[in-house]
Amino acid sequence: MLLSELTRAAPRLALVGLAKNTGKTVTLNALLAELSAAGTPVGVTSVGRDGEQHDVIDFRIDKPRVRLEEGSLVATTDALLSASGTGHELLDRTGIGTPLGEVVIARLLSAGEVEVAGPSAAQDARAMADAMLAHGAEQALIDGAIDRRAASSPHVADGLVACTGAVLSEDVHEVVARTREAIELVRLPTLAADGPLGAAAHALALAGSEHGAAVLSADGAGAALLPARYALTAQAAEIAALLAEHRDAAAIAVSGALPESFVRDVALAARRSRREITLVVADATHVFVHERGVEHYRAQGVRLAVLAPIDLLALTVNPVAPQSHSFDSARLRDLLSEEIAGVPIFDVLHPSYRGAQPPVSRALRSRP
C-alpha cells in the first residue's frame, strides 16, 4: 500500500521526526508526488522550515527541496514565496509573524520549488490547515521540525506519520530501541472517558490549566487539586509527602507539561511506598521523557496515560545519517518491525516502495 493511501483518511496530517535528518522532507515529497499523481489537491505548511538548500546546523548537508504542483496551497512567509519565483495567487494574509517574515496563504499558479515556513505555534498550524482545506485542499500536510511533536497533538492533526533514521545512533540496535521508545510514547494507553479515572481526569482537563494538576483515587472520587505549576516545580520530598497523605491516590492528572523530573520523582515515591501511580495527561505531546523510556518508568510503578490518542498511521525510515554512516534499509525495517507492531514501516526511497517517484534524487541522502 502507498503512504498516501494509508494516510488518506486524515484531512490534517502531521509529519514528525524523531530528530533532525530522519527524512521528514523526503517523506513529505513522496506524499506530494503520490497525491499529485492521484490528482488530489493538497495544502502544505511547516512549523519549522522546509525545502531549504542546506541544513541549518551542518551546512555540509544538502537538503531536499519541496516541490509543489500547480494549484497546490501553501502557508509560508511572503519573503520565501517571492524568493521561490513561483507564480502564485495570494489568498490570505495571516498577520502571523515568524523570524523569516509574515505568513501568507497562497495558491500556486505553476509547479515550483517553494521553501515552506508556516506559523510555529501548533494552534496556528491547525488554523492554516483548516484555512487551506476551506480553500479547496483535500488534505493539509503539517510538517514538523527537528524533533518537535506539538503539531501531532490530536487537537491539531487527525493523523501522524513518524520519521526515524540512522541519525539516531551508529548502532542499529540503538536506533531500533530509541524508535521503539518514541513510538511507545506516541501510543500511550488512552483512559476511557466513561471509566472512573477517565471521567475525573476529563473533568480536570475541562477545568483548564489554572488548576494544573490533581490527585485522583481509583474510583475517581476525592480529586484533590494541587498547587499551580505543581508538575513543573514539585520536589521529590513534596511528592512523597503527597502520596503519603493520599493513601488511596491512584493517579495524578496534569493538564500542562509533564517534565521528566516529575515522572522520575513520582517513580521514586511510588517504588518506596510499593504503589502504582498513573500519570494522566491530555495527550502524548505533553510528556517530556528523554532519558528513560515509558517502559522503564512502568517497571518503577509509574504508568503514563492520555485522554486523547494520537492516530499513528505510518513510520518512515531514512537508513542514511548524512555525513556519517548508513544501514541496510531492509535490515533496519525488519529489526524495527520485530520491535514495533501494528505500524506499517516504509523507506520511500527504496526500490521496494512502489510510490510515485518523488522528485528527489537518492544522491541527496549524501552517502558518506
Binding site: G48, A79, G97, T98, D124, S209, G256
Partner: protein, 253 residues
Amino acid sequence: MPEREVDLTRVRPYADHLGDGLVQMSFTLPVPYSLAARRAALELASAMGFEEPEVVHYEQLTPGYTYFVMYVRCAATVDFASLQEEGFDIEYLSEDEIETFAAEHVRRPIVVVGASTGSDTHSVGIDAMLNLKGYHGHHGLEGYRAFETYNLGSQVPNAALLAKAIEVGADAILVSQTVTQQNLHVQNLTELVEMVEAEGRRREVILACGGPRVTNELAKELGYDAGFSKGTYPHHLASFIVRELAARAAVPR
C-alpha cells in the same frame, strides 16, 4: 567618487580595488615552525578554495605550533541584492525610542524571564541582555522603565524557567545557549517550546533565543519567534519585543 558602481548581485571582498577578492586570514597549525609548515599553509588555503595564496607572516607560537597570516584571493561572489530584498534587516529603536514606544503602545510593564538553560553554564550572554550593566555601554533591559526583568542565571532546567514565566505572567521568555557541541542544545531548545505548547501558552508568550551560533533560520526551525547572535545589543532585543507586543495587541488572535 567611486571608481565604478558596485554590482550588488555579485559582491566579493575588497582590498585595493573593487572586485579584487582579496582576503586576509590567520590561523594556527599544530606543526613545528618550518618551511614545510609554510608549504602546508599554502596547500591548505588552496584546498579551502582560495586562489593565489600568499603567506605574509608566520611565526612559532609555542614549540610544535605555527601561526600564519595569509593573503588569498576569493573568486566566489554573493548576491547581496536578493538578500537585501528578503527583508531580514530590522531598524532598531534607541533606548529612548523604546521607552516612548512602550508607553504609547504597550502601556504596562513588560515582563521578561531569561536564563541560560539545560547544562549550559555560560551566563554572560543573558546577563548582557538583562542586567543593568548591559553590554558595551548599553543598558540591559533591567535598566529600562518599560521592562520588569527576571534573570534566573545559568543551568536552569526548562521546567523551572517555564514555571517562573507562568508565575510572573511573562510576556517573553528569553533563552541563551552557548554550547553547541553534539547538538544537545537543539533538543534542549525545542523542549522548552514544546513545554510552552503543552501548557497552552505558545500564542501568548514571545519566545526568543540567543547565542553565538543562533540564527533566524535556526530559531524558526526550533520554534522561537526570533533568534539573536553575536553583535546583539539589549536595545535590539527590546525593539523586537515592544514591536511584537504592539503587533499582537493590534491583531487579536
